[in-house]
């Protein structure tokens, strides 16, 4: 069974991370090759899992007692996204990290971060997911401060202190949920919370837990008003790390964890939908307008990330409003599929933009506008890659970024939420204007891109072009639409509960075993 290979998605990078960390500096060549081989395997694995689903019980322990890994339509799309970003960044870093000392330590941390991200996606258990989130996030704190210069350290300190407070509040939320229901298994919780008679809004401990968890994840997604860390981190960290944060960390640890918590654990309710929408609207507007006054290219990308993720959250928010107010189901599926598609697209094009910027920085030593714009001897391939990334980010028609934004905005109109459509259009126009105004800086001249960086950029450009193919109806049904249906109906978690119930019925239990309304997690 292919799903029995699921733990390898976490075990492989984590094991490789520890091996690389233990290897002495003189084996750095082999450490780097090992890291790239592992990321290639992860990419292959995520491709392998991209059409399957199912769950895996770790150690063979049955569901509410043991820990499980779940794979449904939503997380397999993001698993593919992490696979692509991880592979690209590892190859890119082979040349790029020569600017820094201790490149094998970079690869060790990269491996741990990928293990954390894959674990966050796959884990079907709130506390385990918290631990994986911490693995990914702590590696990112270290990677941000990798250069050990003053600005990096300041950004890393700010990011780490606020991030720790946010994580601790998430843990408090998990503890409150555990004290109420005696379980942290997502499938088990989703059934118990759905049976809650009063609803979440009027159940104050649950409200408390929900707010803490959602806001803790919103910090990691850098949604306004929790975005303060992001511009500093983007401006100072190495480009490979920023690509990984913007492409993988923010989407997985922030948006995925938040959406999974809201949609599956707490259930789709109106007030959580409004909360998502308020985060989204502030992020889109603040992010887009703040971009206009930025001078540094990295800060432009940071605020762009805030507004683009705002778009994605807008899709999820409107989707949950439609579901909770009994609107047309197909519009909800369409807009959530659009949001997932946008999350995927954003990861690809933003990482490409950041890696291109890093390439310029690597070969020229500066990214400042005045010096770049008067260079004439351009590398043609570099310009093509820049154009593809920029066009997708700005939403120019044949590119994927256009389709995902249009699907989100179009479904807002279809569902009758005109105000959000207007907010989206304003954000869309403002962010396109930025790319037009700064077009010269997106086509900087680069004389020669190093070997591995050239390959990484070429690979990601191909993926960026190919992601347009996702709008072909049959592919659309297989990936984004399936993802949206799975997250809206909690398909894989319902299957787990059903199978568990069957097992309980077949077991001929003694009468003393509690029924599923009050199960103690003790063996």
């Amino acid at each position: 069974m292919i799903k029995n290979l699921l733990p390898l998605m976490i075990v492989l990078p984590m094991g490789a991370g520890f091996i690389i960390a233990l290897l002495p500096e003189k084996f750095a060549y082999w450490a780097n090759r090992l890291a790239i081989a592992v990321t290639a395997l992860l990419l292959f694995g995520s491709g392998l899992f991209s059409t399957t689903g199912g769950y895996y019980e770790i150690g063979g322990w049955p569901m509410p007692v043991g820990i499980n890994l779940s794979l449904d339509g939503f997380n397999r799309v993001l698993l593919l996204m992490v696979g692509i970003i991880g592979f690209t960044v590892a190859i890119y870093a082979l040349n790029y990290m020569q600017l820094y000392t201790g490149s094998n330590r970079f690869f060790a941390l990269l491996m741990l971060m990928l293990a954390g991200l894959n674990g966050t996606l796959l884990s079907g258990d709130l506390f385990n997911r918290f631990v994986y989130v911490e693995i990914a996030v702590i590696s990112s704190y270290i990677l941000v401060g990798f250069g050990c210069q003053a600005p990096e350290l300041k950004a890393a300190f700010k990011y780490a202190v606020l991030g720790t407070v946010a994580s601790t509040f998430t843990l408090l939320g998990i503890a409150v949920i555990y004290s109420l229901y005696g379980t942290v298994n997502i499938a088990h919780l989703s059934v118990q919370l759905a049976a809650e008679p009063t609803g979440i809004l009027f159940n104050s401990p649950l409200l408390f837990a929900g707010l803490f968890m959602v806001l803790g994840f919103a910090y990691k997604a850098a949604l306004v008003p929790f975005h303060v860390w992001q511009p500093d981190v983007f401006e100072t960290a190495p480009a490979a790390v920023v690509g990984l944060i913007s492409g993988g960390l923010v989407g997985v640890v922030g948006i995925y964890a938040m959406i999974r918590t809201i949609f599956t654990v707490f259930g789709i309710t109106t007030w959580l939908g409004w909360m998502l929408l308020s985060l989204a609207v502030f992020s889109i507007l603040y992010g887009s307008f703040k971009v206009l006054e930025q001078e540094s290219l990295r800060r432009v990308y940071a605020y762009q990330t805030i507004s683009q993720l705002g778009f994605s959250v807008l899709g999820f928010g409107v989707g949950s409003l439609i579901i909770s107010q009994d609107g047309p189901y197909w519009v909800a599926v369409l807009i959530v599929a659009g949001a997932i598609f946008h999350l995927f697209n954003h990861a690809i094009f933003k990482t490409l933009l950041i890696l291109l910027e890093g390439t310029v920085e690597h070969s020229e030593g500066y990214t400042d506008a005045v010096n770049l714009s008067d260079k004439t001897n351009c590398d043609r391939n570099f310009s093509i890659a820049s154009f593809v990334a920029m066009a997708s980010a700005a939403g120019i028609p044949p590119f994927a970024g256009f389709f995902s934004k249009m699907i989100i905005l179009g479904s807002c109109v279809l569902a009758g939420y005109y105000l959000f459509a207007v907010v989206g259009v304003v954000g869309f126009i403002v962010s396109s204007v930025v790319y037009y105004r700064r077009r010269r800086r997106f086509f900087p001249g680069v004389e020669k891109i190093g070997g591995s960086m050239r390959f990484a950029v070429g690979f990601l450009t191909t993926v960026c072009l190919a992601s347009t193919l996702l709008v072909i109806p049959s592919v659309w049904q297989l990936f984004p639409e399936q993802a949206a249906e799975d997250i809206l109906t909690d398909q894989i978690y319902l299957e787990q509960i059903e199978e568990w119930r069957q097992k309980l019925l077949n077991m001929q239990l003694p009468s003393s075993v509690p029924d599923n309304s009050e199960v103690t997690p003790d063996d």
Binding site: Q149, V165, S167
Partner: protein, 122 residues
């Protein structure tokens, strides 16, 4: 019992207050640790049972229901162990970063670190 929950809440608020108001890197790290300690304490008390037994099945327990009624909940203790490891590693990381900052700026005062222009240190 409820007194302990108020103590935990007070610790949490002290920690948050410290993170917001303190101007010294080390004091900020201490405040972060206080928040973590408060949440860990809360986790321990989630599994607490007055007069409870160690959760090990011995002959004294007639059946599983009796065992479930008497023993303390071991699961939050397992969680707290993991969470303590995470807090320790985070504290170590924060201290390393603040030490590096101290080597560059010669101070732990955030007003001076964030206020000054970056010194040339390459």
């Amino acid at each position: 019992m409820t007194g302990i929950y108020f103590l935990i809440l007070a610790l949490l608020l002290i920690g948050v207050f410290g993170v917001i108001t303190q101007k010294n890197l080390i004091k900020i790290i201490i405040s972060v640790s206080i928040i973590e300690a408060a949440v860990n304490l809360f986790l321990i008390f989630v599994g607490y049972r007055a007069g409870g037994e160690a959760p090990i099945i011995t002959e004294r327990f007639a059946d599983t229901a009796e065992f479930a009624r008497l023993s303390v909940d071991p699961f939050p203790q397992a969680m707290v162990l993991t969470s303590i490891v995470i807090s320790v590693s985070l504290t170590a990381l924060l201290i390393v970063i603040s030490l590096r900052l101290y080597h560059i700026y010669g101070t732990y005062d955030i007003n001076r670190i964030w206020g000054e222009a970056d010194p040339d240190n390459d």
